[in-house]
């Protein structure tokens, strides 16, 4: 035994679960590209106010008669039909996009983990009912319902105290996306909780008298995290795309500086000022691609056996 101890001390310590995943992730070129794109979006969102040449609300180009100008030295990506600087709004749009993605997925993760966790841990009839409930949300035409709710909610709030909340419309969209995007997370959380509920280390924890809350939070949840993180990464991209589509159809927040709003206002002028549409479109594409690749890379990194 002394020998056993000595050899283990001499050998370099094996890396932890997260570090091992990172080693695998680093070798995945597509995943790294995704991470790069996502980092770029985050950095842009953080430094937008410092690097943007114009305020996102600056319409002065309109007064100078310089709306719908193609890219030049002053307006790097041109101006749009409202006289906004396309490049500046592109940078600021990253903030809105991330706010939507993170906000919606925070809500979705909370609901999903709670519902899925209860279903998986409790089992039986509770499980059956909660999963049917989740399935309901997976089959109904979510996007269509969101459009209707955004529109109708906009009417309901007129004349109430809620009208004074800034960016209420954007908040509504975020909350709605969160409330409709939770079922995949719930299903995964349920599967993981079900698997881990009967794991021996959970039984071992019960055996020493660990209270149920600790078992769920300390023993089960951390082990369920990798699979959930993949879904959250995918969901952030999905939520950003959904918000853009809602805005593109004209149901977005007119006060928000988002890529979808730019697309909505400039689509009619596609023929004369295509740059005003292509720029936010390209930004959206890069963001969605980034999150998709990141999720893909994470799947490989967390489940090396699934790799092909």
């Amino acid at each position: 035994m002394a020998i056993e101890t000595a050899t283990l001390n001499a050998v370099q310590r094996a890396p932890g679960v997260w570090r091992q995943s990172w080693y695998r992730f680093r070798r995945n070129r597509a995943g790294m590209l995704g991470l790069g794109l996502v980092t770029l979006v985050v950095v842009v969102a953080l430094i937008a106010p410092f690097v943007a040449p114009f305020e996102p609300t600056d319409q002065s180009a309109m007064l100078r008669g310089a709306a719908r100008r193609p890219p030049d030295a002053i307006h790097w990506l041109g101006t749009d039909r409202n006289g906004y600087d396309v490049f500046s709004r592109l940078l600021y749009g990253a903030r809105t996009a991330l706010l939507v993605g993170l906000g919606a997925m925070t809500i979705a993760s909370l609901i999903g983990v709670i519902i899925g966790g209860i279903a998986g841990y409790a089992g039986g009839m509770t499980d059956e009912l909660l999963m049917r409930f989740a399935e309901f949300f997976m089959v109904i035409p979510v996007f269509i319902v969101i459009l209707a709710v955004v529109r109708l909610f906009g009417i309901v709030v007129v004349g109430t105290w809620m009208e004074d909340i800034p960016n209420l419309n954007l908040l509504t969209i975020i909350v709605l996306l969160g409330c409709f995007e939770w079922p995949p997370i719930a299903r995964m959380a349920r599967a993981e909780f079900l698997r881990l509920r009967n794991a021996e280390f959970v039984e071992a924890a019960v055996c020493i008298g660990t209270p149920r809350r600790d078992i769920l939070v300390r023993h089960i949840l951390p082990n369920a995290l990798p699979s959930l993180i993949v879904l959250v990464a995918l969901g952030i991209g999905g939520a950003i795309l959904a918000e853009t589509m809602v805005s593109f159809l004209g149901f977005g927040d007119p006060k928000a500086v988002s890529w979808g709003q730019s697309l909505y206002f400039n689509y009619e002028a596609l023929k004369v000022a295509p740059w005003a549409v292509l720029a936010p479109g390209g930004a959206l594409f890069c963001t969605v691609l980034g999150f998709n690749l990141l999720a893909d890379g994470l799947t490989d990194a967390f489940n090396p056996r699934l790799r092909q």
Partner: protein, 322 residues
């Protein structure tokens, strides 16, 4: 549990689902109060009496529950009421616009299926080759490129810059292309269908390629090869059939996704389909039309899901029913 029993259960669930959506929708629309009031409020010369009589005309008086059951009973008889804005029977409008939606959605999926099978076979039989990596990369990019952006790019290139394809509508208003209405219709379909095919192909290829790679690795394929079957028979006869199962189950989801985002697709191409109709209806608060369009979209979606569920168990006997 037998297959028949399983199917019955799914059917019951599907009906419950549609009913659930109808309740939510009805509750939501009633939350805004009387739509007639909101619609007519800003117009000049509208008195309370007019609002009252119009409300009565559209059957919007009476208690919420009464109205719900009246509406539900009408729906069951396929009577969706009359559109407030267009003053046409909603059921008629749904059929006309619905056909336009299916006209681009169905070719969009069918063509994509063929294309993705070809591409996937090409990639999977040359695993880890440059072709394979190219296909994976292309599919991943295509899958992440939002359909409506692709639509915009297609319009920009083929309508505005090259000027060869129409950018909006399903028919020409004045001179049909080549003097034939059929060709004119097909000509208008080219861009929207291309866009749908592109997106669907990318998604299906991602799925089918990895599924095919998986199957090609299995022992029964090696056995088939060893028995001297030509490679073409091995891939198309044995491997593809097995690799297709996950794809088939995904078709329903894909169709649902396409239908759900039809408002965006149809807005980009100004296509007179259900999605565009739906947008119009919620913009103008055309209450019977909102209800009707949502119900139809839900029914189509639920049916697609149901069909995939059934196809799944019919095709793959190994699936445990539960």
């Amino acid at each position: 549990m037998g297959t028949a029993r399983y199917i019955t259960r799914r059917l019951i669930f599907a009906v419950c689902l549609i009913w659930g959506v109808s309740v939510i929708l009805f509750a939501m629309i009633n939350a805004i109060g009387n739509p007639i009031e909101i619609l007519l409020a800003e117009r000049p010369g509208i008195t309370d009496e007019i609002i009252e009589s119009v409300t009565k005309y559209y059957g919007l008086d009476g208690s919420v529950t009464d109205r719900y059951f009246t509406w539900l009973w009408a729906i069951v008889r396929l009577d969706f009421g009359t559109s407030i804005i267009y003053n046409l029977p909603v059921s008629e409008m749904l059929v006309i616009y619905g056909m336009e939606t299916l006209k681009i959605q169905i070719p969009g999926i069918v063509i994509a299926l063929f294309v993705s099978v070809m591409i996937s076979v090409l990639a999977a039989t040359r695993q880890y080759s440059k072709v394979d990596f190219g296909v994976i990369a292309g599919a991943m990019v295509g899958h992440s490129l939002p359909g409506f952006l692709l639509g915009i790019i297609l319009i920009l290139i083929f309508s505005y810059w090259l000027g060869i394809l129409p950018s909006y509508g399903a028919y020409s208003t004045r001179n049909p292309v080549m003097g034939s209405e059929v060709i004119d219709g097909l000509w208008h379909m080219v861009l929207p269908v291309s866009m749908l095919v592109f997106f669907n192909t990318a998604t299906l290829t991602l799925l089918l390629r990895s599924s095919l790679v998986d199957v090609l690795r299995q022992d029964f394929i090696t056995a088939a090869r060893a028995s001297g079957l030509p490679e073409r028979r091995v891939v198309f006869g044995h491997a593809l059939r097995n690799a297709f199962i996950p794809v088939l189950t995904y078709l329903g989801i894909l169709f649902g996704l396409m239908l759900g985002t039809a408002p965006v697709t149809e807005t980009v191409f100004t296509w007179p389909g259900l999605g565009a109709l739906y947008i119009m209806a919620i913009q103008q608060l055309d209450y019977p039309l909102i209800m009707g369009a949502t119900m139809i979209i839900t029914v189509m979606l639920v049916t697609a899901t149901l069909l995939t569920d059934i196809a799944y168990v019919v095709i793959d006997p190994r699936i445990r029913l539960g």
